[in-house]
């Protein structure tokens, strides 16, 4: 029986294929524009003088006055250093802890491992606002109030569950036989982790570490609540509290310059680890 289907000529199929591809690229362009335009707008606005700020133009006017005054602002520089310290420490600590946890949860089949994993997931479900007051008490007891260390400590709560979860599923996907081969070669569990598993986890560590860094770098609520004085603030809060020469003037150009500046480190990190991230993000989900 002949199949009932329409047949086109070769050249029609070629045109169809071309149209499909053109459509795809158009779609990609739209998405890119949607995502990148706000950043571009921030760049443009940051290079405008206050007088020009409200005139519409899509081209940057290359006036770096906002950046110069921003970098002469000691509070902003201090905030960047604080942010860097907080984000680096919390992502580093969370990586170390979650790698150890992930190995235990992913590979050692003890009875409670499932329970622990579910608890970890539950913790990441709580909204930040819910834990805020409790966390405030804890930080008071620990004597960490108004110190950047308080933020390192509290960010672990946000970052650890998800790094543990991602790394656990990544470790589970590594072939069991590799570990058995290492056991046969006489390795201890710790040596297996450091010499066999860790080198293979590069992509996962890069992507989770980076996401942890971004999360801590951008965090606002804890940073606002646990820090009292300007010199201990992190960038997101410092930016929110930037003031102009009078209380009625909002320093729009400077805020834009600041947001461009604080995005740069993230962009640079992403570009450095870009390749690893792509393989890392998919590796946890589906074995490939």
């Amino acid at each position: 029986m002949a199949r009932k289907s329409q047949h086109y000529s070769n050249s029609t199929y070629r045109k169809l294929r071309f149209l499909k591809r053109a459509g795809l690229y158009f779609g990609v362009l739209m998405v890119l524009a949607y995502m990148l335009f706000p950043y571009y707008w921030a760049i443009i606005s940051s290079t405008k003088t206050p007088e020009n700020l409200y005139s519409f133009s899509l081209l940057p006017s290359l006036n770096f006055g906002n950046y110069i005054s921003l970098f002469h602002n000691p509070i902003f520089i201090g905030a960047i250093l604080n942010s860097a310290f907080v984000a680096f420490s919390s992502s580093l600590i969370s990586l170390v802890v979650s790698i150890l946890a992930a190995y235990a949860l992913g590979r050692m089949n003890f009875r409670l491992s499932r329970m622990v994993l579910i608890c970890v997931l539950m913790i990441s479900v709580f909204p930040q606002v819910v834990v805020l007051s409790g966390m405030f008490e804890v930080i008071g007891w620990l004597g960490l109030y108004n110190r950047p260390t308080a933020l390192v400590f509290s960010y672990l709560l946000l970052v650890l569950p998800f790094t543990t979860w991602v790394l656990t599923s990544f470790i589970r996907d590594l072939p069991q036989e590799l570990e058995e081969a290492a056991l046969i070669d006489g390795c201890s569990r710790f040596r297996i982790l450091t010499h066999v598993l860790l080198p293979l986890m590069g992509p996962a560590i890069a992507s989770t570490g980076l996401l942890a860094f971004i999360l801590s770098w951008n965090e606002f609520l804890f940073a606002l609540t646990f820090i009292l004085t300007d010199e201990n603030r992190t960038v997101p809060v410092a930016m929110g509290l930037l003031t102009g020469s009078s209380r009625y003037e909002y320093p729009f150009g400077q805020v834009m310059a600041a947001s461009v500046t604080v995005t740069l480190p993230l962009l640079i990190l992403v570009l450095i680890f870009q390749r690893k991230i792509v393989s890392g993000l998919t590796a946890g989900a589906v074995k490939g």
Binding site: E177, A181, L183, G186
Partner: protein, 369 residues
Amino acid sequence: MASVTLKEVSKSFGAYDVLRSIDLAVEDGEFLVFVGPSGCGKSTLLRVIAGLVPVSKGTVSIGGNEVTDVPASKRGVAFVFQSYALYPHMNVARNISFALETARMTKAEIGRRLTKVAEMLKIGHLLDRKPKQLSGGQRQRVAIGRALVSQPKLFLFDEPLSNLDADLRMEMRFEIAKLHSEVGATMIYVTHDQTEAMTLADRIVILNHGSIEQIGTPRELYDHPVNRFVAGFLGSPRMNFTSVESDETGSTLIGPDGFKLSANHASVRQAVTLGIRPEALEIVSSDSSNCIKGIFERVEDLGYEQIAYIRLSNNTIWTVRSAGAIPAYDSGSKIGLRWKSEDLYLFDGKDQSIRIESFPQPPAIEVVR
């Protein structure tokens, strides 16, 4: 030295018994092969010996010392994995020497052993490569090199050749046999490929449903299988079976198509199944005397041998294997099958073999129509 003794070893995963009370003694320097259908527990048994899987019951001894609870890393055995399990981030040299490095051996000693192993396996030119830059056969050699380098007394192989294509498999089979004679260590080898089992083994262990069916030399198992499972498992194509019945007097067994067997011995009367190997059958014309009739279905010509498929009157398909040419009958034509009584196997109601060879005279075959 490295003999291996298992006493009443059992392993259960939950309610599922993978190994049921295995007793086994492997002699020092022996090449022992575990063979069986998939899921029979052969890999688990190997892993139990390696220490990768803890036993549920029983004891494991290696070289006379009980090691039941000694972790795999301290047993000093070598293990070659089916997937090779090479470390992807290390080059070949480091893959091979990792165990020595872990044992904190001196650089000079590591280098000396590495050179020796590389020379033995002819992989000297590959030492700087990563595993993903190697072909399957080369990976296999590296995996064996990794096992060799720590100079263990006991080698365990878990289906090492099953990922290779046919040509390479034969080559590596030869290499492993050569290796065994050179190194002289005890080797235990798991496979589902009976050719590998028959060609490599000093002794074969046939496993089924977590129990040992029979242990013996390849010849013993092939010629004197203890039960129907072993008889059907070894040999390709497998042994032909058909059911037989005893007549009312009990002195004759009746098979398909008027086939009669004189029950000249008391134990023959217990037989319910008859077995005959494909190479013991001869195709004759259907009007020949003392033959049973069948319908010629098709023939497979492998060049060096031919395999014919014959449908018996009770609809069972038998295979006939012949090194010479089988006449090209048309599909559906009637032919006769004939065989000698000494090639016959008989199995009782519990599928155990009836040892015909111990009788003063084999039971006589007669076909009556």
